[in-house]
């Protein structure tokens, strides 16, 4: 059993265990910080992991991804500010509950749902990844390209509040990703003779810019306008309101497991990520709920569904990364970099070459879920209140410095720092004008692989584009992508979009 080996490998490494606990705590705190997504936080912490052995490094970042997704719910519920984009859907019902003085109850619901969702996702990862890796070992460029097209179609149809703005942001991401050497001919494209641009824009500075720097600008603006007060929810004097009754949880279990299922499926598909999972789960479960009128005014189900879904993404999103080398989320993309930095080859062979490490990482994920669950259950409200007390004028400059260091240290490049600042301006403009930065980043991440696979396929093929339809796996992936896009355009966009815009 791989996972048993994994636990043995993990518990033989006290440093790694310590970092799992630290990551659980750090993730909850970072997640609770308004605007800092788990991905951005991880991007900033990558340089720290250069100091660590591979297991500690990967476990640290992987668990921060999990606990960060959970931590976002604290800010969403208590302050009506999404701690991460993945917790935007949680605000709709979480904050009304908090306003009624049932904030702790809401937090505990989020904790339980997140943990169950995360466990479901990890179980799928642990038992499914090896099976899938066996299949994907024989994937060639046509299969990869079909998977990428599926990802693009699905993202294009679900991200963002306006289809047009979503598409614009996606195209911009594609455009930026095309800068650098042509993957097939090796000619420089759009580098304007700048040597540093020949390898294209690096992900980490771009990511930090679009998410962290832009968020700092938004926060600075709010502070300058004196708009910085978040109405903290009063915690009920009546202790009964703080209890989360077991029957209520049991009644919501089907919702939680179904949402975990949506999250897991969305996690496996490259490029979608937690926020999409949260919206889809919220929309679907609201449609199913008997008390759907109460949703949006403080229904527990409205917390359980998105929180279970956004954490269920974590495990399965590692599947395309570990089996195909295709990072499914920004967190996975950064983890891929860490694998490479430590000289571990990603792809189908990983389970043979680095068996103990991979299963050690899975074990770390399970331990991490337990840790952030305990931390969140007992200290969630406290963490929320402390975050509230630390003045923003101390927190944000510190984040800014960390961002600078992180952007510089990945490649020791001042160009990367400039890229980060420019991306910050871009991210700020996008947010102000309502273009989804997530679509931009996801397109940026997916484009190079998609372009490479497309052009390799056409070189491989003796009869042009038919290669995508004559290979069964490729054809199936394309069919799924088209089907999802058609289904979304036909039935669901209004629903998903409404939640996105309302929040």
């Amino acid at each position: 059993m791989g996972i048993v080996d994994g636990f043995a490998f993990l518990f033989a490494n006290p440093t790694a265990l310590a970092f799992v606990v630290l990551a659980a705590l750090a993730g909850v705190v970072i997640g609770a910080l308004p605007g800092l997504t788990a991905a951005a936080a991880i991007a900033m912490l990558v340089p720290i992991t250069y100091f660590l052995d591979p297991l500690s490094a990967l476990a640290f970042l992987y668990v921060i991804g999990k606990s960060g997704r959970y931590g976002g719910s604290i800010a969403a519920i208590l302050f009506n500010t999404p701690g991460t984009t993945a917790s935007v859907a949680t605000m709709a019902d979480g904050h009304p509950l908090a306003k009624r003085g049932e904030g702790i109850k809401a937090l505990r619901m989020a904790t339980v749902a997140s943990m169950i969702g995360d466990f479901v996702g990890d179980a799928i990862l642990i038992f499914g990844a090896v099976l899938i890796a066996k299949q994907t070992a024989r994937f060639g460029p046509p299969e990869y390209f079909a998977v990428y097209v599926m990802a693009f179609l699905v993202i294009g149809s679900v991200v963002g509040s306006s289809v047009l703005k979503g598409l614009t942001a996606t195209l911009l991401g594609i455009l930026v990703a095309l800068v650098g050497l042509d993957p097939i001919t090796g000619d420089a494209r759009w580098t304007f003779g700048v040597l540093e641009l020949e390898s294209g824009f690096a992900l980490v500075p771009l990511l930090i810019g679009v998410f962290v720097i832009a968020e700092l600008m938004v926060q600075a603006e709010r502070l300058a306008l004196g708009d910085g007060d978040n109405t903290i929810a009063a915690v009920a004097p009546d202790p009964k309101a703080n209890r989360l009754p077991l029957p209520q949880v049991l009644r919501l279990l089907p919702t939680i497991f179904r949402s975990a299922g949506y999250g897991a499926v969305i996690g496996i598909m490259p490029g979608l990520g937690s926020s999409v999972a949260a919206f889809v789960a919220y929309a679907e479960e609201k449609r199913r709920a008997p008390d759907r009128e109460a949703w949006g005014t403080g229904a527990l189900g409205g917390i359980a569904a998105p929180e279970a879904a956004n954490n269920a993404v974590s495990g399965p999103s590692m599947i395309p990364l570990l089996t195909l080398g295709v990072p499914g989320t920004t967190v996975a993309a950064i983890l891929m970099g860490v694998f490479l930095i430590h000289g571990i080859p990603i792809g189908p062979t990983l389970f043979v070459v680095a068996h103990d490490l991979v299963f050690g990482l899975f074990a770390a994920g399970l331990v991490g879920i337990l840790c952030y669950g305990l931390i969140g259950w007992h200290f969630g409200p406290l963490i929320g209140r402390v975050m509230q007390r630390v003045p923003a004028r101390f927190v944000y400059p510190l984040i800014f410095i960390t961002a600078l260091v992180a952007a510089y240290s990945t490649r020791l490049s001042l160009t990367d720092v400039q890229v980060m600042m420019a991306a910050g301006l871009l991210g700020y403009a996008m947010r102000r004008l309502g273009f989804p930065p997530a679509a931009f980043i996801i397109a940026f991440i997916l484009t190079p692989g998609a372009e490479e696979a497309l052009r390799q396929s056409l070189l491989l093929s003796a009869d042009g584009g038919w290669v995508f339809l004559t290979r069964p796996v490729a054809a199936t992936a394309l069919a799924i992508g088209v089907a999802v896009a058609v289904w979304r355009l036909w039935s669901a966009p209004s629903r998903t979009q409404r939640i996105a815009t309302e929040s």
Binding site: G140, P183, E196, E198, P345, T349, A462
Partner: protein, 320 residues
Amino acid sequence: MLDRRRLLASTAAAGAALLTRPAFASFPEKPITLVVGFAAGGGTDTYARTLASLIHESLGVPMVVVNKPGAAGMIAAKFVADQPADGHTLYMASAGSLLVKALYDGDAAPVAPLEDFRALGQIGASIPGLLVPASSPFESAPDLVAAARSDLEALRWAHPGRGSLFQLTGVAFLQENGLTVQDVPFKGGGPARNAVAGDQVAFGFMGIQLKNGFESQIRALGVAGASRDPANPDVPTFAEQGLPDVPLTNPQVVMAPADLPDDEAATISAAIEATVTGETYARLLGKAGLSGGYEAPSAATDGLVALEAELQPLVQATRA
């Protein structure tokens, strides 16, 4: 990795200075930085880190590896060429790739490898190999050549990217044997290797060490160069199999800016020679499937001049 190594290196430097304190030498006075033009974990990086982990014994100061990846090593080359020529900043050249890149860039190349740099010693060479999937009907390189002659259309071959030395090796191999086969470029050795292992292409040209760990999925049919690769002695050369010789390898050469004074150059060269000819160095590299093998600065330079002459027509031919 950089930060930790810097930290360790400077601590070690302080320690070394206290303990050994050479009586008269004024060079090297501080840790030496070895700049690698590729990401950590790749072949050139492994050479650099293996050298750096051992050379302090003969040099007296630590050597710190810094990665400045991008533009086929050119960004790092430009960086080192612009540093003061005092011997404290050196360039770990993947010399074959650097020459190819400079030839492709022509007059626009940011550095001229053979004029802006002087070689301080060759510390190994990466050997291009011909790999096929384990299920392939080809048992030897002549098998493949014969099959390719009869059915050119159906075959495809993989390499780690256009403009890489491995692509040019493949092109040279095909040219020498009178073949034209459609290539499929991949981004780096790992993906190219996976394409061969996954039976997506008929064959591939890439670093021979990439077959290690994949013996059940990949068969190596031959290596370029005049002699077998010491780290993979079971793979015959093309010449041994009665095919034309393809004299291309990718030498790994430590370089300094051309203005570095001879005394400093000699000090570093001696330390490189002592390290690379040692037993530990070869053993550590062998673990990664890479071959060491020392060449003195003059021999290394001659090798690079000869390599450039071989590459020139190939670059012209593939430029189209």
